[in-house]
């Protein structure tokens, strides 16, 4: 069997897994969409469009990716990124660099799937630079199998220049988490805005660690760190949401909700605010514990059982 047909079969398998997990495979096949499809350490396809350069270079354990959006480019369609490991075991290290030029605007839809994992390690090491007045949105959704054998370790360093905007969403609510260890650090210059959101549903003995830090280094910079975590059975979660107001008139807010279902699940929330300028203003709210009783009662008064009511509430929270 030739290597080309092997890759072709693997691409078909990835596209099928992508479709099964709710993705629209046409986006991976349509030339108008910039896309990068990686299976294990193989780049199965890479499509650049005018103003967007996508390069993937295979390494021994993964892929080194370079994504550049030219200054002033408003990318009309989302850029699709697919990272998957289909075998039960494997290591995938994605080392990536995102450069969004001045005044550009782009949205990335990243899908990561490990449907058969019993021992898969997925490491993301990303550097993101959002230029002056540029806007970047990065939405990453994970689809895991039910065996819990996945370890996901995203490490992200973000720099947002003056007037730039960066929005990051991470969602892992389908299948078992396994072990998740997010570490994101963003530095914002004058009037830059950053919005981080994490949604995770932990089951059985899943382990969830989230650390997100936003440094408001430029005057008038604003940051929001939001997390919504649900843990059931023996799952554990620890969330550290940190904002540091280093410059005048910076504003930040940490908003953390963790729901614990069952007696053995455990959750910990650590909002951390630091201010080194007297005009900076940072706030936080953290709610941790069982599902709100009034919400459950309201849905029960509409005819749902207690279990059904909790499901509706959790589903909404993680939507």
């Amino acid at each position: 069997m030739s290597e080309t047909s092997d890759r072709s079969r693997e691409f078909d398998a990835i596209v099928e897994a992508y479709e099964r997990s709710g993705g629209d495979p046409s986006a991976l096949l349509d030339g108008r969409f910039a896309s990068l499809v990686v299976s294990g350490n193989k780049v199965l396809s890479s499509n650049s469009v005018p103003g967007v350069v996508l390069e993937g270079q295979e390494t021994e354990t993964g892929v080194r990716a370079y994504v550049k959006v030219e200054p002033g480019t408003k990318v009309p369609f989302p850029v699709h990124l697919c990272f998957g490991v289909l075998p039960q075991e494997g290591l995938q290290e994605i080392i990536s660099e995102f450069e969004v030029g001045e005044g550009a605007k782009v949205k990335f839809l990243a899908h990561c799937f490990f449907p058969n994992a019993t021992n898969v390690r997925h490491i993301m090491d990303s550097r993101v630079h959002v230029g002056q007045g540029a806007e970047m949105e990065y939405s990453e959704t994970h689809f895991h199998g039910r065996r819990g054998g996945t370890e996901v370790v995203p490490r992200t360093q973000v720099e947002v220049e003056a007037g730039g905007r960066f929005r990051n969403q991470f969602k892992l609510v389908t299948g078992r988490v396994g072990r998740l260890d997010i570490d994101l650090e963003a530095r914002l210059m004058e009037r830059a805005v950053c919005d981080l959101e994490v949604k995770v549903y932990g089951k059985e003995d899943d382990e969830i660690n989230v650390k997100e830090s936003v440094y408001l280094d430029g005057e008038g910079a604003r940051g929001l760190v939001r997390s919504r975590i649900v843990v059931t059975e023996e799952a554990r979660s620890e969330v550290l949401g940190e904002i540091v107001g280093n410059a005048p008139f910076t504003r930040g807010h940490v908003d953390c909700v963790e729901i614990v279902q069952g007696e053995r699940a455990k959750a910990k929330a650590l909002p951390l605010l630091q201010v080194s300028d007297p005009t900076a203003k940072l706030t936080h709210e953290a709610a941790i514990g069982s599902v709100d009783k009034r919400q459950v009662q309201t849905l029960m008064a509409r005819g749902l059982s207690e279990e059904e009511a909790v499901d509706v509430i959790v589903e909404g929270l993680l939507k």
Partner: protein, 243 residues
């Protein structure tokens, strides 16, 4: 349809409701008036199953429902609109109304329910039932969700509080629509005008029924004895003697 028999409730060893006897007929709008803290909301919660009574019975369509949990009462056609309704992150108004309609077996569309409470469906169906809604909007959506259920008994805990004056007509219309459709409505209110739309009314004080009669007489009674009361939950002896 609903018979409340010798119903008492103690919370933290304090009497909240005392020997309440009250009947609500099918299709009847029954107002409950009383000063703050006289047991109106507690009565609503006991009827919905949120509080378990210390003694007494609740009969609904001939069945003793005193021990039934909340959702079993809802399945039998009882529902409650809270005075301060809960908010739900990620649940849209459309989903909330559809869920209420499906579980309650109602036939009125979510769009129509919103129109009836004075909210434009196009603007609200896709919005979340969360903190982005104002207090008044959330209350009207709660009323719409009760309407969507088309319940046999709607317990409305101050549906008119926090609602702007022009929207009160919508609240009244919804209550009348429910009753026309055969629902009984237990209407807890402070608004004398709203109380007067009822077929009968009851005045509560100290967790006791002081009087049940036509709403005009109860409103007059409330105005004379309760509205500017300086001894809440310590009713005049003469009134208690007449119970």
């Amino acid at each position: 349809m609903l018979q409340i028999q010798d119903l008492s409730l103690n919370l933290d060893n304090k009497p909240i409701l005392r020997n309440i006897n009250l009947s609500i007929h099918r299709g009847e709008i029954h107002s409950i008036l009383g000063a703050n803290g006289t047991g109106k909301t507690s009565l609503a919660y006991v009827l919905m199953g949120l509080y378990r009574p210390t003694s007494g019975r609740i009969m609904f369509e001939g069945e003793d429902i005193t021990e039934l949990p909340v959702h079993e009462r809802a399945k039998r056609g009882i529902t409650l609109a809270w005075q301060e309704p809960a908010r739900f992150e990620g649940l849209t108004v459309g989903e909330y109304l559809r869920l209420s309609r499906e579980r309650g077996g109602g036939s009125i569309s979510p769009e129509r329910c919103l129109e009836m409470v004075g909210l434009t469906p196009f603007l609200y169906l896709g919005r979340a039932v969360d903190g982005t809604l104002s207090g008044g909007e959330r209350k009207r959506i709660e009323l719409a969700s009760v309407l969507a259920m088309e319940p046999k008994l709607a317990i409305l805990d101050e549906p008119d509080s926090g609602i702007d004056a022009p929207s009160l007509d919508h609240v009244v219309n919804v209550i009348r629509t429910l009753a026309k459709g055969g629902s009984s409505v237990l209407l807890i209110t402070h608004h004398e005008q709203i109380a007067e739309i009822a077929d009968r009314a009851t005045c509560l004080c100290a967790g006791m029924v002081l009087k049940t009669t036509n709403p005009q007489d109860i409103v007059r009674f409330f105005r004379n004895h309760c509205r500017e009361c300086l001894h809440i939950n310590r009713p005049e002896e003469e009134l208690v003697r007449n119970i």
